[in-house]
């Protein structure tokens, strides 16, 4: 049902074709004619108004053709097909979409994709190899049961990795403060603090 898409140099159009080919192809239905009739010159999604945006996500290049209003979050999810990054509000209020751009944590819903042209984007999928060893922060989240539903977790982990890197994980109080941009409605907060402390601790 789900596909690992995202080959280097894959455009949105080729992504869609690839996705279509690998699921049951949908018949072109009668209802589509009304929609087609309504489409006038310039309204084609692949026509005027789209911009080419080169994104580099998790060390892979993506050549995307995007509506310039597309946020980095929507580009990552809907166009690059990396759905580990979550949308929780679209207004920079919940932290679920936290990713790293050039090593800094940012809210992917608060920046347009084309503003990140050529920058290095890291998402939760880029933190460890599929099936391979986990990043110490990911392992710490498991060890301390630092999630329940798991929806905010990718954002929490990306924030947590940055929190340690920024030098803001010296005490529980400091971690609480610097992890407060990421909401967890299940309220795994004490476990998140414990996980960040474990991952921040120098190797024993």
């Amino acid at each position: 049902m789900t596909h690992s898409v995202a080959g280097a140099g894959m455009s949105r159009r080729t992504f869609i074709c690839a996705a279509a080919a690998s699921t049951t192809a949908l018949p072109l239905p009668a209802g589509a004619r009304a929609a087609a009739a309504r489409q006038t010159a310039g309204s084609s999604p692949h026509g005027a108004g789209l911009r080419s945006v080169d994104l580099r996500i998790n060390h892979q290049d993506y050549a995307l053709s995007l509506d310039p209003r597309t946020t980095l979050l929507d580009a990552i999810r809907d166009h690059a097909g990396l759905t580990g990054t979550k949308k929780g509000c679209g207004h920079g209020q919940c932290g679920a979409c936290t990713v790293h751009v050039d090593g800094q944590r940012i809210l992917a819903c608060m920046t347009f994709a084309l503003m990140n042209h050529g920058r290095e984007v890291t998402t939760i999928e880029g933190l460890s190899e599929p099936g391979g060893a986990l990043h110490p922060m990911q392992q710490a989240f498991i060890d301390h049961d630092a999630f329940q539903c798991g929806y905010c977790t990718p954002g929490q982990i990306m924030s947590a990795v940055a929190c340690v890197r920024e030098g803001h994980a010296h005490s529980a109080a400091q971690i609480r403060e610097y992890m407060s941009g990421n909401l967890c409605r299940c309220a795994a907060y004490p476990n998140i603090v414990a996980a960040v402390q474990q991952a921040a601790a120098p190797e024993a």
Binding site: R38, D67, D74, Y151, L183
Partner: protein, 764 residues
């Protein structure tokens, strides 16, 4: 020691890692809106900007002309849809596009579908409406509301519980408390946004949507779209938090499915955070009038609980928590009455601990007031009125360890070091207050089905259409199978959240662990029986001819009563079977005979606590420390502690996390959360996560969870009481009581905000 993994006490399961832990920390867990669908079109809702009136004109021209727009579904387009039916399946009877009337703020007026999300957003924003606006009633006290007695009119209450002559007992009581309390509208706000993805293929509809009830959704979707159940599949593998909000279907789903059918293309509609406040249900605001009478030694002789709950104009909904509060202690005479108040709002629905969270608050606050009136420790007052029988029908509790919870909790919290005098404890600029309250939640259990397969290689697959909403149900269902089939949890895979699997009840009322684990247990026992039979029936082999009734299964080995053993792989190999697969239906005692058939049709039939010969509840004692700044009145909560007895604990890790998260949720219900309405327009003014306050990490201090050992096999075969909605009950009262202890100021309306503590008290 890692506090996340408490050592199990007797009748508690090991704190095993969640089976989906790796998926969740790598971003590989797929939530409904993550599921890749080819050729998607994007839908955005257009919602009303008034709360009551008629839509005289909806201008869609600009939206239709927006580049990339494919279709708009609005009034006149839904003749193929049947209106929703109010009940467990749908939270409302409102078909928002069936008539041009507006019943609440933010009501759906159209769905715009476009090639891209950006185009759909632009087009939706260009829609304008003209209304014949009417004055709208927003709140319980607003003019224009309509008040009705709830009993007999709402599903949750047939009759107001009562016992004895309350008025007489109350008048005779030497010490009396008479006060009013309020709780606000609250909105679930799971971090996952609500969404619907509808995909048609050869007349078959697949809906990907976060839900607490795939079978319930399927049934209601089929009804609204005039389809057979077999034509609809609902898939919801992981759910990003629910708290009740994803229990019943909302009208959006059928509208999105209709759009996808018209367009001949899959449509995904992810609802904005703001629209989630108005197109989904919420926790209704409540008002309570509590009267308590007691003798001077602290024996309660009279208790009356009257309550008012808000509902919509269309549907009579109430949670009616008097069923719990009137049974909580050994009161003398009891009276109760629930009323519903119809206003211009959407219909409310379940939110975590629907009846208990708002109803236990006034009772447990009033008890604190009574304790002060008596000059008694609030903890001692509760123990004084602890009872092994409920006062309404005099039924016994199946088990009740509230006293033990208080004793162990109080010791761990160092409650007895508290100076009981209000505003007496202080550290620097911080006033310190301790408060306590009882947590209680009824044990619900429902019919459930499961299929379990034991393969020859020793791997096990568990299938049941329950829902992983963060509770750990996949883990505990897997743990149950691993335990019964003698294999490690790593050998078990668990499939859930799909109507192609055997049905499970709505993940609500904290019934899932009890119900699903009981079904898994039954299926596993059937697998064991077949395996043992195969071992015994073999012509040769170490177990040939052995007594199956004395066989057990441990560490991948079948053991006979005399100690003979054979690896289960060999048993299966010798029998020639590739796997043993068993389907089981668990129907709890007291359930109607057609409970399982109803479940297949999407209806969960809970056997409720008070309907059983012995009523059963999980209990807890909660303790809160608040610190209030003497000058700014900033309120901090450095410590929460809860001691709970909830029957068998399947996994101490997942249970602790739920109870911990529950207490923080309860703290939030007391201090932070309130959906604010403008009384002039009945519109919500804080429909986002900046102004609807939920706790952040920095709001949270230490949270300690104690799980007492309790064994109660009368509740269900798994012996599980359910605790997902236990931890958040009573926290609000404990907190309000702590605020009183810190400041001497009694606050009876939630949420408690620092402005409530400014001026006019004795503590500055």
């Amino acid at each position: 020691m890692n506090p996340a993994t408490p050592a199990p006490r007797e009748n508690q399961g090991a704190p095993l890692e969640r089976v989906d832990a790796r998926l969740k920390v790598t971003g590989e867990a797929r939530y409904a809106a993550d599921i890749a669908v080819a050729n998607l079109a994007y839908g955005v809702l257009v919602t009303s900007t008034v709360a009551r009136g008629a839509v005289s004109e909806l201008s869609l021209e600009a939206a239709r002309a927006t580049p990339g727009v494919l279709d708009i579904v609005s009034y006149d387009d839904v003749r193929e849809l049947r209106k929703p039916t109010f009940g467990m399946g749908s939270y409302t009877s409102l078909g928002p596009l069936h008539e041009r009337r507006i019943f609440h703020d933010g009501q759906i007026m159209a769905l715009v579908v476009a090639e891209t999300y950006q185009a759909a957003e632009e087009a939706a924003a260009s829609v304008t409406a003209r209304y014949a606006q009417e004055p709208a009633s927003a709140e319980l006290d607003s003019p224009g509301t309509e008040e009705l007695d709830a009993a007999g009119k709402v599903a949750m209450l047939k009759k107001d519980p009562a016992s004895g002559d309350f008025e007489q007992a109350y008048q005779a009581a030497p010490v009396r408390i008479d006060a009013e309390y309020r709780t606000p509208t609250q909105t679930h706000n799971p971090i996952e946004l609500f969404s619907t993805t509808a995909v048609w293929s050869d007349g078959q509809l697949t809906v990907y949507e976060p839900t607490q009830s795939v079978y319930g959704f399927r049934s209601e979707i089929a009804k609204q779209l005039n389809l057979d159940l077999a034509q609809v599949r609902v898939v919801s593998p992981y759910v990003g938090g629910s708290f009740g909000s994803k229990g019943p279907l909302t009208p959006r789903t059928a509208i999105v499915a209709l759009a996808a059918r018209r367009l001949g293309r899959p449509v995904r509609c992810v609802v904005s955070r703001a629209q989630g406040f108005t197109t989904q249900p919420y926790r209704a605001p409540t008002r309570h009038h509590i009267r308590l009478g007691a003798t001077r030694d602290g024996t309660i002789s009279a208790f009356s609980h009257e309550a008012w709950e808000l509902t919509s104009r269309l549907d009579n909904y109430a949670v009616a928590g008097t069923k719990t509060t009137t049974r909580l202690y050994g009161y003398g005479a009891v009276a109760s009455k629930v009323r519903i108040v119809r206003a211009d709002r959407q219909t409310p629905a379940f939110m975590r601990s629907p009846p208990e969270l708002p109803y236990v608050f006034p009772l447990e606050t009033a008890l604190d007031e009574l304790a002060y009136a008596l000059g008694m420790d609030p903890l001692d007052l509760r123990l004084k009125n602890d009872s092994q029988r409920e006062p309404i029908e005099g039924k016994p509790f199946s088990s009740r360890h509230l006293k033990e919870c208080y004793e162990e909790g109080a010791a761990a919290f160092r409650w007895r070091e508290r100076n009981p005098r209000p505003a007496s404890m202080r550290e620097g600029d911080w006033l310190i207050g301790f408060g306590c309250a009882t947590a209680v939640y009824p044990t619900n259990v429902a019919a459930a089905a499961a299929r379990v397969r034991l393969a020859a290689d020793g791997t096990v697959r568990v299938q049941s259409a329950s829902h992983e909403i963060g509770t750990g149900i996949r883990t505990v269902a897997g743990q149950m199978a691993a335990e019964r089939l003698g294999v490690p949890l790593a050998a078990v895979s668990v499939e859930m959240g799909d109507t192609n699997l055997p049905p499970a009840p709505t993940s609500g009322g904290s019934n899932s662990t009890a119900s699903v684990c009981s079904a898994v247990l039954k299926a596993c026992d059937q697998v064991r029986a077949r395996l043992f039979q195969a071992a015994s029936a073999a012509k040769s082999g170490p177990l040939a001819g052995r007594d199956v009734s004395r066989m057990t299964l441990r560490d991948g080995t079948v053991l006979a009563g005399d100690g003979a053993s054979q690896p289960l792989q060999q048993v299966l190999g010798a029998s020639g079977a590739g796997a043993i697969e068993e389907y089981a239906e668990f129907v709890p005692s007291g359930a109607p005979v057609d409970a399982m058939q109803k479940l297949y049709r999407g209806q969960t039939t809970m056997v409720r606590s008070e309907e059983r010969p012995a009523v059963s509840f999980a209990f807890g004692a909660e303790f809160v420390e608040v610190r209030i700044h003497a000058r700014t009145r900033e309120i901090r909560v450095p410590r929460l502690l809860g001691a709970f007895a909830a029957g068998r604990i399947m996994n101490t890790r997942t249970a602790r996390s739920q109870l911990m998260g529950g207490m923080i949720f309860g703290m939030s219900s007391a201090l932070l959360e309130s959906t604010e309405l403008d009384p002039r327009s009945a519109r919500i003014v804080n429909a986002d996560l900046q102004d609807y306050l939920v706790p952040v990490n920095a709001d949270t201090g230490t949270v300690e969870v104690i799980m007492l050992s309790e064994t109660d096999t009368s509740v269900n075969p798994a012996g599980v009481k359910g605790l997902g909605e236990l931890g958040d009950v009573g926290t609000n009262a404990a907190l309000a009581n702590a605020v009183f202890h810190a400041t001497g100021k009694r606050l009876r309306n939630l949420p408690i905000r620092l402005e409530d503590l400014l001026g006019g008290d004795s503590a500055a």
